[in-house]
């Protein structure tokens, strides 16, 4: 269960370098401040996959980082299973899992050392940790490479290690930040299947992407973010109805205000 209430994030405006290509000024830049995310409101319930849909630079990663307590909101807050992310970040972290497309592994640790490390950091030790690891390694079919160093693993194996790492403390809410970016079809499918499993187990899944195909296949509901603001919240069907477009890409563009933004 996740309730986002008026979440805002402001950064110092990026300094423009001399000689840099002239870009159209982002409307979010005001003087010395850059309002990356403004007044986000949405919610997500257990057993549902919520898609955070938006173009590059829309504010998806910033939003997820705030929700996961990596960075602090400038104002507003969110409740995660009733725990306030600004008041009690440590408690929030115990309840969340976070997996992004750029997540890496410690190359010189073995798969099991890697997962055990995150288990311990999450306060799981001893037999509980061992059992949990055995369970996960069996589920993800990782036994054959559990004692191999992460550097020596294939992309698919690495994905599985990342998944096991995300799940080791059995989080209730799981964030995926463009989890399939840069992955081939097979590795993407591992991730997509994993996201579905999370839903089946009754987890709250928040999933950011700019791939319409993933939205169509996975998302129960969609939050459409553009230039730091929410433009639409609802199911995929509602998205089509409201925009009057059958094609999701067309619907997306129409909802954020037409072609000129693309």
């Amino acid at each position: 269960m996740l309730e986002v209430k008026g979440l805002c994030k402001t950064f110092p405006a990026p300094k423009t370098k001399k000689g840099a290509p002239i870009k159209e000024k982002d409307p979010r830049e005001q003087g010395k401040l850059f309002h990356a995310v403004q007044d986000l409101n949405f919610e997500s319930v257990a057993g549902e996959i919520l898609g955070l849909l938006g173009m590059n630079g829309a504010g998806k990663t910033t939003t997820l980082r705030m929700l996961a307590t990596a960075i602090k909101p400038s104002s507003g807050t969110a409740l995660l299973d009733g725990v306030d992310i600004t008041q009690n970040p440590i408690e929030v972290r115990k309840r969340i899992g976070f997996l992004s497309g750029s997540t890496g592994l410690y190359g010189r640790l073995t798969a099991s050392e890697m997962v055990a490390y995150y288990g311990k950091l999450n306060g799981i030790n001893g037999d509980v940790l061992d059992n949990r690891m055995n369970e996960l390694f069996a589920m993800l079919e990782m036994e054959s490479f559990r004692d191999k160093r992460c550097d020596a693993l294939s992309t698919g194996m690495k994905q599985k290690v990342s998944i096991a790492r995300t799940l080791i403390h059995d989080p209730q809410v799981i964030f995926f930040d463009e989890p399939t970016s840069g992955l081939d079809v097979l590795s993407s499918r591992t991730i997509v299947n994993f996201i579905k499993t999370c839903r089946e187990k009754g987890k709250t899944v928040i999933f950011s992407t700019h791939f319409m195909s993933e939205v169509r296949r996975l998302c129960d509901r969609v939050v459409l973010i553009h230039q730091g603001k929410v433009y639409f919240t609802g199911t995929v069907e509602e998205m089509k109805t409201q925009s009057g477009e059958e094609d999701l890409e067309e619907a997306f563009l129409k909802l954020v205000g037409g072609e000129d933004h693309a």
């Binding site: 110092p12 980082r65 996961a68 307590t69 990596a70 960075i71 602090k72 440590i90 408690e91 972290r93 115990k94 969340i96 976070f98 992004s100 750029s102 997540t103 890496g104 592994l105 410690y106 190359g107 010189r108 640790l109 050392e113 490390y117 995150y118 311990k120 950091l121 999450n122 306060g123 790492r165």
Partner: protein
């Protein structure tokens, strides 16, 4: 608190599995001092042996006029008389061809000069382009002996008897030097400046790769975000990582001193021949332990600084480019202690890095002022704590951690 240990153990495991770190942390520091000493001592030994074995070929013309002088040259070690020269005009070619190193031309009128008792001038031909020539000083030794003989004879002829009276005329007064510095202090001055310099370099070298690996490396591999999202307070993360860098830094420095100590113990006998060996053997275990302890707060400062720049950098490359100029911040003040005239005074005791360097130098010399040592240790420790505090603050800043 348990998670500090978890982080420490995990990072150490990773560090120890990295070949590059192992080389800089263990192999290099272990080998550097023995290799350095071995080269130094074997060079000194070689020079000494060479000097003993070498015989300088010399030639005299009209040597029959000064049989006493010829006799002295024959008796003196290190000279070899070459016969067959009849005129000094032959010397130049012979010296160029390296047949002889030295040619002495006894004047033709020697008999008259000696008879009359005036000054005898012997021309000595040698290659004065050779910078390391020991020929002239050695020849001088022989002539000193010859002069002694002549002088005695002449004094006696003049009616001045007895060595004491003769000396009194030659040198009516002389100075007698009584140095109060012992060997350890004298030799410690030079070597004692070099040791802290090396120690501080190795503190830095030992910290470098682990620091880059566990700071910027986390960003480059994309593991930092995940780590920050574990329910571990940031200060624990900093402490765990700090302790790893501190460990590798101290390990590198201590291995440098330990391998030096072990080498000295093994080679004690050969080294005692030389004054430097005596200095090193004179240092007790307490001296070595104090040296290590003096280094602790400085290694802490280095670890904090390295961790701060490493976590700020986006990747390995950037971290390395920050670290490169940074090493001079530590190495230059460390080097100051090596310069002649820089002594441990209260003024220098206030200068970070240099004070640690000077304190170690004084420990080598055996002349440390323990009050000053305590002040240096204490002030650097305060400095280290401030640096650690800064590091924790630094780890809370979003513009440091997320610079993409």
């Amino acid at each position: 608190m348990h998670s500090i240990l978890t982080i420490y153990l995990k990072e150490m495991k990773e560090v120890l599995r990295d070949r590059k770190t192992l080389i800089f942390m263990i192999i290099l520091p272990t080998l550097i001092m023995p290799v350095l000493f071995q080269v130094m001592f074997s060079f000194m030994e070689k020079q000494e042996k060479k000097a003993q074995a070498e015989k300088i070929p010399i030639a005299l013309v009209r040597g029959e006029l000064t049989p006493e002088l010829v006799e002295l040259f024959k008796n003196q070690d290190g000279f070899e008389l070459v016969d067959g020269f009849t005129d000094e005009s032959e010397f130049k070619a012979a010296i160029k061809e390296d047949k002889i190193k030295l040619g002495l031309a006894i004047p033709a009128e020697t008999a008259e000069i000696l008879e009359y008792g005036s000054q005898l001038e012997v021309s000595v031909y040698y290659n004065n382009a050779s910078l390391t020539s020991k020929v002239i000083p050695r020849t001088q030794v022989v002539f000193d002996q010859y002069n002694e003989q002549l002088r005695k004879a002449r004094f006696t002829a003049l009616g001045v008897g007895g060595a004491s009276k003769q000396n009194g005329i030659m040198e009516p007064s002389i100075i007698k030097k009584i140095g109060i510095a012992d060997d350890r202090e004298r030799w410690g001055e030079g070597f004692g400046g070099l040791l802290p310099y090396l120690l501080i370099i190795f503190c830095f070298v030992g910290a470098l790769y682990p620091a880059i690996d566990i700071g910027a490396g986390e960003k480059e591999r994309g593991t930092l975000e995940t780590l920050l999202l574990t329910p571990v307070p940031r200060s624990y993360l900093v402490l765990g990582k700090f302790l790893v860098i501190f460990t590798t830094s101290m390990t590198a420095a201590l291995l440098t001193v330990t391998s030096m100590g072990v080498w000295i113990a093994i080679k004690a006998e050969t080294m005692l021949k030389f004054a430097l060996g005596e200095v090193l053997s004179a240092m007790s275990f307490v001296d070595y332990a104090l040296m290590a302890l003096t280094l602790v707060p400085l290694a802490m400062v280095i670890a904090c600084v390295m961790l701060s720049i490493s976590i700020y950098a986006k990747n390995f490359k950037e971290a390395q480019s920050y670290a490169a100029p940074l090493q001079f911040v530590f190495i230059i003040p460390a080097f100051l202690a090596f310069l002649p005239g820089v002594e441990l005074t209260w003024g220098w005791a206030m200068m970070p890095v240099t004070n640690t360097s000077l304190a170690i130098k004084e420990l080598v010399k055996g002349t440390i002022d323990y009050r000053m040592l305590a002040v240096i240790f204490g002030s650097t420790l305060v400095f280290a704590m401030a640096a650690l505090g800064f590091c924790v603050k630094w780890f809370h800043r979003e513009d440091v951690l997320f610079r993409d």
